[in-house]
């Protein structure tokens, strides 16, 4: 589904990603872990097509398409969804209006008519129930005055509505209390299928207790330095990153 080969990216001439290799297949859950500043959010932004970053080498392929040829919205239309670490406020634009616009723009790109209001409402109700979101939420300005937890839950609500093929969840667990974490994880699991994939970026095992990863990768200083199964996450939880850093350190 997603194949990344030797990806290098920089911002303002500072290289952040230094040769990333990653392969995500349909049905899989990948976890990416790593200390602050190691490049996790940069990687997700580059996959989503944020133009501030300059891709200097390597390639990204998504469902047979070269991502470098797609604008961010085209990547979204192709099925890539990014749950932002820091969701953005848009004053005066309600959650409903935002979602309606997003869904209908994706449909337009596929040559479909706008979704009938009735269907949209039905879908919203369903997903709101799944994520235990209150109705009043829909008419609030998107992310404006939302608590940290509400912002993250709103991201997952959007994911549920947009039904992406690949969802990248960038620290979606931070800011969530234990109940919210369970609800969000439960939502992600319910939406999971053999046809879609999830990349979870997190610092903590507690999310991975709910969403079981097939693969765990450690991102360190712009490179994936170690990959393993779910046990790697447990090991990291216990020992931190230092032992990996030591493994990486040049001999001498």
């Amino acid at each position: 589904m997603l194949t990344i080969k030797n990806l290098r990216a920089s911002i303002e001439d500072k290289e952040i990603l230094k040769g990333i290799n990653l392969e995500v297949k349909p049905g899989e859950v990948h976890a990416i872990m790593g200390p602050n500043g190691s490049g996790k959010s940069t990687l997700s932004s580059v996959i989503a097509g944020r133009e501030d970053y300059e891709v200097t080498a390597g390639e990204m392929n998504f469902l047979g398409q070269d991502l470098s040829e797609l604008d961010p919205e085209e990547r979204a239309h192709a099925g890539i969804f990014l749950s932002f670490q820091y969701p953005v406020e848009i004053p005066g634009v309600s959650v409903t209006n935002f979602l309606k616009t997003a869904i209908n723009e994706s449909r337009k790109a596929k040559g479909l008519e706008p979704m009938p209001a009735k269907d949209m409402l039905k879908a919203m109700k369903e997903k709101m129930a799944l994520l235990e979101i209150d109705r009043s939420f829909l008419s609030r300005s998107i992310n404006e005055g939302f608590s940290g937890g509400e912002k993250k839950r709103n991201e997952i609500f959007q994911m549920a509505m947009l039904e992406p093929k690949l969802a990248i969840l960038d620290e979606t667990d931070s800011g969530l209390d234990i109940d919210a974490l369970r609800i969000v994880a439960n939502g992600v699991n319910k939406l999971k299928s053999q046809d879609n994939a999830v990349v979870v970026i997190t610092h903590y095992q507690r999310l991975l207790d709910h969403i079981t990863p097939d693969f765990v990768h450690v991102l360190l200083n712009g490179q994936i330095v170690k990959s393993g199964d779910k046990n790697l996450a447990l090991e990291l939880e216990e020992k931190g990153y230092d032992w990996i850093k030591k493994e990486q350190a040049p001999i001498g």
Binding site: P72, E73, V88, V93
Partner: protein, 483 residues
């Protein structure tokens, strides 16, 4: 910097949005010879078969105007119009008075179709009466009968001069006297048409009264005069919208609008202004110098809402004189400038009575090389005990070549009066646009979404169908502008 190059690219794309409604309709017209002198005014007055007092009033205004100088305090820059090169009267030639909309000149009808405001459609839009002003003479009036049953008068000002001279004589120039300013004086001397609206005591006008203005004849100055009178305890919502054909020369527009709200009356006056703004290089476009003012008696309310996207140069300050105790004035404005447009707009809230209240919400949006200014005066008079004002003036910038300015003037002569002023300047963030993009919303649509959100408080004040139109207009005016 990669970011800058991208910004420029998007900016260029946005500013590619040509004036959508640019076209010219060839309708025969009946004109008064070019230029301005006493004789022009006599001819206009004679053509309109006006009573002697009105001619005298016009000539007096003309005398005043000749003694005045064109104002230059506004933050706009433009070549001074040549007042001798303007045609002051051009009536579209209609074969006869219209019985119904079906009798409308087919070419004119086509024009309306192009604008997407076909009268057929309008007619079907229950609850909207349309009085169309094309060039300087009203050509169609609808729903008149229904309004007539309630005693509401809604007609062209020329018709009002003929049919209701006592009302016109009583109120014309009482809120905006001819000597008020240069353009008000000019308008008083040469106005050729506009609308007249009278709501009798205790009547709530059951529909939005709507006028679409258009400028059509090349080189024709447009001098509308609008007079709205709401008698005691009455209510009216009045809509004014306009769009003009594309052309290469500057057109002067100097309208005067006077509103009078008697005790306990309420007037809502909404405008969508979309005159030709000139091309991308700043050539052509309408000069829009408007004087709009309302007078509030006791416990009455006047609410101005405007969405300004057109014109090359705009100079406009819809104001309220809060004379009666407990009266309320409101001003809600969105002003968009793009390319080389210049707008200096705002309001004046003059608090005279006790416990008077005013609210000002102004949202400026500047893109391209444009220049937008908010200029507002809040005056609390000696007797304005406990008067209150709240002003919120926001500006949104797109790109780095535009300019936005705020000039709030506050004069307080009463210690119990309170004035609150808030102002913000922001840019549409790259992160907001990327967030939208990531959800599948392309940049143009993202900007429209963000801008409409930013203007929500003002758009919410507009009647439903007008709000939808205004939203579309904002999107069209800003296609491709990113900051």
């Amino acid at each position: 910097m990669a970011e800058m190059a991208e910004e420029d690219k998007v900016l260029n794309e946005v500013t590619q949005s040509e004036y959508k409604y640019g076209f010219y309709t060839n309708i025969e017209s009946d004109r008064v010879p070019i230029g301005l002198n006493e004789d022009t005014i006599r001819r206009i007055s004679a053509k309109k078969n006006e009573p002697e007092w009105l001619l005298t009033w016009r000539l007096e205004a003309y005398k005043r105007w000749q003694e005045m100088e064109e104002p230059d305090w506004a933050n706009v820059d433009y070549p001074k119009p040549d007042f001798q090169a303007i045609t002051y009267y051009a009536a579209p030639k209609q074969k006869k008075k219209l019985e119904s909309l079906d009798d409308l000149d087919p070419e004119m009808k086509e024009t309306f179709d192009k604008l997407g405001i076909s009268l057929d459609e309008q007619k079907r839009l229950a609850g909207v009466a349309v009085d169309v002003v094309m060039d300087s003479v009203s050509v169609a009036t609808t729903f008149k009968k229904k309004l007539g049953e309630l005693g509401i008068i809604f007609c062209s000002i020329s018709e009002a001069v003929q049919e209701h001279p006592e009302l016109v004589k009583k109120y014309l120039g009482k809120v905006v006297p001819p000597s008020d300013n240069f353009y008000a004086a000019l308008n008083s001397a040469v106005f050729t048409d506009g609308s007249f609206c009278y709501i009798p005591k205790g009547v709530r006008c059951p529909m939005e009264l709507s006028t679409y203005f258009r400028i059509n004849e090349a080189g024709t100055g447009q001098f509308e005069r609008t007079l709205v009178i709401a008698e005691e305890s009455s209510y009216v919502s009045y809509l004014e919208g306009c769009t003009a054909p594309m052309r290469d020369e500057n057109q002067l527009h100097a309208a005067v609008v006077e509103l009078i709200a008697m005790d306990d009356a309420e007037i809502k006056y909404s405008t969508v202004q979309n005159w030709y703004p000139g091309n991308k290089e700043g050539k052509g476009g309408v000069y829009n110098f408007v004087t709009k003012r309302g007078l509030c008696h006791t416990r009455s309310k006047i609410s101005w809402t405007q969405v300004e996207t057109g014109s090359a140069v705009t100079w406009k300050y819809p104001s309220c004189i809060l004379k009666g105790d407990h009266s309320v004035g409101e001003f809600y404005s969105v002003a968009v400038t793009n390319n080389y447009q210049q707008a200096d707009t705002g309001t004046k809230m003059i608090h005279i009575g006790k416990n008077t209240k005013s609210t000002i919400i102004s949202k400026g949006i500047c893109a391209g090389h444009s220049n937008g200014s908010y200029r507002g005066l809040v005056k609390m008079g000696k007797k304005a005990e406990n008067a209150r004002n709240f002003s919120q003036c926001d500006s949104l910038l797109m790109g780095n070549s535009c300019g936005s300015h705020t000039f709030p003037y506050i004069e307080i002569d009463n210690k119990t009066a309170k004035v609150e002023h808030e102002a913000t300047t922001s840019k549409i963030g790259e992160d907001q646009i990327f967030y939208c993009n990531q959800r599948g919303i392309p940049t143009e649509e993202a900007i429209a979404l963000i801008v409409n959100g930013y203007c929500k408080e003002v758009l919410n004040q507009l009647p439903m169908e007008f709000a939808v139109e205004a939203q579309k207009l904002l999107a069209v005016s800003l296609e491709g502008s990113v900051g």
